[in-house]
Symmetry: C2
Subunit: 387 residues, 2 copies
């Protein structure tokens, strides 16, 4: 269905930056972080009016390294195909900011950081987070970067939730919100998959009630399982069929023998699970899946999405993917309908794709065109002085 | 969508029977079981011509107790709604045989049984099984019961696979095959979910490489997780939304407090997982999910389902459920198409239901009518001497 486009130039070598935000951050759960660290990357140049900033919001397992290459690393950032010179999110036109959010595990303050009050790592005692906490932390970074208003905030999945939350909490600080493969709230099925993933982690004896770091352990088996569950649900049945079918990696089902048999898809999934558990932190996984579950755009607006969106002032681009069954097109249509009913300017595109939820990360010409076309108009408006 | 029908009479108190089959059973993997035990139940009376036998084939977690009540037990069998006097599978008209298959854990020979060669429980060393092994064991039971030909073989999911396999292996021993919510082979996605379930079990340190029985342990956490994964995928997103939505069981997401929050769906799933792990055997779960993965109707028929079904002689009823995404209606249409192309008599019904794969076990008037109507015609034909 989808076709890959020709690759464009990479942003090249990038350096991760970091900042200590010394202002207190009051979290939605009531806990106050007196200070926190954020690691982030930027691509492109901020213009003289400081009006061309784009904020990228990562999803569950994402990080700040969205594009380009780290010195000596052959793998580019997670959104390399869409972020760079001449690309859909064009670093020749925009100053793109990609931040690792608090609670995650790639350098920003999170469960692996030292809790200044105890002198020990936070581990499982890191406070519960909401998407609005990420928004607030991003706003402090924005202040630090001396940007008054984002030209656009862009995110897929949990990233789209942040973009929507920004539009309600800080309507004067964002001109465009791009909400990709997202939802105003998770369904019971989604919560169920997240809970199974969390239980897989907590069932691992090496989880030690969240204190595995202090004990020099890591619930690698549990986290691998959690990832495998997520991974299957982020792909479509169709894509898995094309990619693996019923191909065997080991053994033979025809012969009368009792030797072990392994399907390709089993081996692939086990590999993905193990790879992930080596690079991600289990407490972060628990924390961020709960953020997803807890997110409910209109909870504080009488559970009325129209009322919620009537607080926004920006333009919206909403994108979904046909085979995404965890954040189904229906969820994006609900967002679009609520925006329309609230008289907000919104464009909605459903992209034909067989790649499931993961489609938002993968090359796809129509997606590229939709995103690139929209942002190109944003750039033109900026040049015209719309800001 | 679906509506529940009025309940009819129960079969009442039933007794489980058992038989030691002393003939050797050569399994598809090459291993020979010199003898095996089967536990089973029967409902209704065998007629003088011994022609009104119906074989029920259970699925992954099923057992022989399909209908009625065990003495002192208030819960009926798993197919109570469909099996009994005047019901769709009518015990006034048929002699219904429901057997617990080998490899399972409810009394028939399986991983929990003693391996006569070692004097110890089989545990993880129980030989690998295929659906055809269950068919062969059922055929030995049929011989014991002195039945020459089944009026019908009926099964849902893995049960439907057995019914199809019977029609190919013993075309003269079955007049009707009723294949419900089944498939000619699992998709990669289905295999993936099964593999995650198996890995959850194997990751549990109490699994002890399958030898937990010998060590007085049980991988309860792993098996609970395996069941939770299965359970979510057997339900539809829609049904979970109706049943649980985003209702909370513990805590409150509005207040600024850090107390724990639990959704109803989380509590429900955790309960289901724990309940299951107390009643099922982990080695059986691994064994039977592999049977599902390995099943491929036409593997020995040049991978040609039409060629496969051309070996069958019976009539077929194929039933699917609209919201079943693990054994989707498309899989049943593939069966039906192959049967039609092989010039086999087949009726196909897709039942509107919001209950996912589990629909095949649950009350639904149209399903009841389709199944009952078909079997009522089978009964009439038997009386007319069609046998």
């Amino acid at each position: 269905m989808s076709s890959e486009s020709t690759s464009k130039d990479s942003i090249g070598i990038v350096k991760t930056q970091s900042v200590h935000i010394n202002q207190p951050l009051k979290l939605a759960c009531g806990v106050v972080l007196p200070e926190h660290k954020l690691v982030y990357e930027t691509y492109g140049e901020l213009n003289a009016q400081r009006s061309n900033g784009i904020l990228l919001c990562h999803a569950l397992s994402g990080d700040h390294h969205a594009a380009g290459f780290h010195e000596g690393d052959s793998r580019p950032g997670w959104w390399e195909h869409y972020v760079g010179p001449g690309k859909a999110i064009d670093s020749d036109k925009f100053f793109i900011v990609s931040v690792n959010n608090i609670g995650s595990c790639f350098g920003s303050t999170g469960p692996m950081s030292i809790n200044p009050e105890t002198g020990e790592r936070w581990g499982g005692s890191f406070p519960s987070l909401r998407a609005r906490d990420w928004v607030e932390s991003q706003r402090l970074l924005m202040e630090y970067l001396n940007i008054d208003c984002w030209a656009a905030i862009i995110g897929g999945s949990l990233g789209g939730m942040q973009a929507m939350r920004w539009s309600l909490e800080h309507p004067d600080k964002v001109l465009n919100a791009v909400v990709i493969a997202s939802s105003m709230k998770l369904t019971a099925q989604n919560i169920a998959f997240n809970e199974i993933a969390r239980r897989a982690i907590k069932s691992d004896p090496d989880f030690c009630d969240g204190n595995y770091l202090q004990q020099g352990k890591a619930p690698l088996r549990g986290l691998a399982l959690a990832r495998m569950i997520g991974h299957v649900t982020y792909l479509s049945d169709e894509l898995m069929g094309q990619k693996f079918g019923r191909e065997l990696r080991i053994g033979d089902l025809v012969d009368r023998n009792a030797d072990p048999v392994e399907f390709q898809v089993e081996s692939y999934l086990n590999y993905q699970g193990d790879k992930f558990s080596d690079s991600f932190d289990a407490n972060s996984y628990i924390l961020i899946t709960k953020m997803l579950d807890y997110f409910d755009l209109s909870r504080e607006y009488d559970n009325d999405p129209i009322k919620a969106f009537s607080h926004s002032k920006c333009n919206f681009l909403v994108i979904s993917f046909s085979s995404d069954w965890r954040f189904a097109p229906e969820r994006s249509r609900e967002i679009t309908d609520a925006l329309l009913a609230a008289n907000r300017p919104v464009s909605y595109t459903e992209i034909e794709s067989d790649k499931g939820h993961d489609a938002f990360l993968l090359p796809n010409v129509r997606y590229e065109d939709a995103l690139g076309g929209y942002l190109s108009r944003v750039a033109t408006q900026l040049q015209g002085g719309a800001q």
